[in-house]
């Protein structure tokens, strides 16, 4: 397979600031350059496009080239034969501009795969006009390493499959191609809906994991111990997650915490300790009870801004009823795009 990886990864960040060799193990080069090396060692024709020579030292560049990777600083040229173009590029706008630049150069049927710097759905929305009008053959998926490539934790890839929303982002063959590339390096490929990859693969997966533990705890206590109707329990879970998400969106984490009031929350949530073993609740109560003075001052100084606490799916359903599916879908896409602009 012909593969191009965009972005080698900033080794100073990995080794000096994050101290990966000591903290997680593995060896530099980490990041996109390591992905490129692993693809090449699996027998693929690999180009690594990196305009900044200084992100790796000479020894690291030698390791990349000895692995069989062709290095270039020309993004456009590197795209011309890429069956898979992997973007290990800077957060946000940097990635969008590289994607826009290479899109016209990609060969027929190519697939652009994001990694950790942007959601594949947002990337799709940003490129939507070109993908719908000029390059209907090109797909958008993910090759999300969900760990830093080069560390022992990187044993899998998260691949963006058919999204939960009806978006025609990539063909089944293009998704399979990404999975095949991941598996060829000896790593497990998890295919998940493209619009879910960020929640389970990005750094925010910490939030997803802690929230999921809380959701499952309450679902069990609510339905099995209190024996409340499942629908009621699910609505309460929805309301809680929606309230927190909306407050973060309008007022930031400090504003959300101010509105919630940690002291009150501990008292209320303690009364939901109905089983001997509710470790996640114990951990949360301990953590929230022990917030230090600096954190409390930060929260107390926060402003809680106007927030429309509305369930997103109910809102989009209403939009579809009022203005029709197509206009509503366009509105939803613009909102998604704005969130990441």
């Amino acid at each position: 397979m012909k593969v191009t990886v965009y972005g080698a990864g900033n080794q100073k960040l990995y080794t000096d600031e994050l101290n990966l060799p000591e903290r997680y193990g593995g060896e530099a080069p980490y990041g996109g350059s390591r992905m490129a090396m692993e693809f090449a060692m699996a027998g693929h024709d690999v180009i690594l496009a990196e305009p900044s020579r200084e992100v790796l030292d000479d020894e690291q560049w030698s390791m990349v080239e000895e692995a069989g990777v062709t290095v270039t600083d020309n993004d456009k040229e590197a795209a011309s034969e890429a069956e898979v173009a992997v973007l290990f590029t800077p957060f946000g706008k940097g990635t969008f501009s590289i994607a826009r630049e290479i899109l016209p150069e990609l060969p027929e049927g190519s697939v652009i795969a994001n990694t950790c710097t942007v959601s594949p759905v947002v990337l799709y929305y940003v490129l939507e006009k070109e993908l719908k009008l000029e390059r209907t053959d090109v797909g958008v998926s993910s090759m999300h390493p969900a760990a830093v490539p080069g560390t022992p934790q990187h044993g899998h890839y998260v691949i963006g499959g058919r999204p939960t929303a009806e978006l025609d982002m990539a063909t089944d063959e293009q998704v399979s191609r990404c999975a095949e590339l991941a598996e060829s390096t000896g790593k497990k490929a998890y295919i998940v809906p493209a619009d879910v990859t960020s929640a389970v693969a990005d750094m925010g997966s910490l939030v997803t994991a802690v929230a999921l533990a809380g959701v499952l705890d309450y679902y069990y206590v609510g339905t099995q111990i209190i024996k409340a109707p499942e629908e009621m329990v699910e609505k309460q879970i929805l309301m809680t997650l929606q309230t927190m998400a909306s407050l973060v969106e309008t007022s930031g984490v400090d504003g959300m915490a101010a509105a919630i009031n940690p002291e009150l929350l501990v008292k209320s949530a303690r009364s939901m300790h109905l089983l001997d073993e509710q470790e996640e609740l114990d951990a949360a109560l301990k953590k929230i009870s022990d917030l230090n003075d600096d954190v409390m001052k930060w929260i107390e100084g926060a402003e809680v801004k106007h927030t429309d606490l509305v369930a997103a799916q109910a809102l989009t359903g209403e939009l579809k009823t009022v203005m029709g599916d197509r206009a509503a879908e366009g509105t939803i896409r613009r909102c998604m795009r704005k969130m990441f602009e």
Binding site: M323, G324, G330, R334
Partner: protein, 115 residues
Amino acid sequence: MIGRILKDLGRINGVNGSLVVGKDGLIIESEVPGDIDAELVAAMASAVFGTAERSAEEIKHEPLEQVMIEGKRGKTLMIDAGEGILVVITDVDVNLGMIRIEMKRSSERVSDLLG
């Protein structure tokens, strides 16, 4: 090709600009004055047209033929163009009959091109 159709519409007396937008609000082609935010107008046109279509359905007046926004300083006309919507922006005093005929003809060509 669609650009050419919009340029021809722009030659009609009183027409100040025109756009073809997808039903989802994505701009396909645009010929509007520089002081108009074409992307925003495209999004609004899709919302207005979509809501008008749904209203016509609910009132049992479907299918929707056209939408006109009439302001004191000008008019905005929208007509179905298959996968898209043809939007024409005009002065207040215009020959609406002639513009409608031209829009109908143009929308059929746009509809064919968008296939």
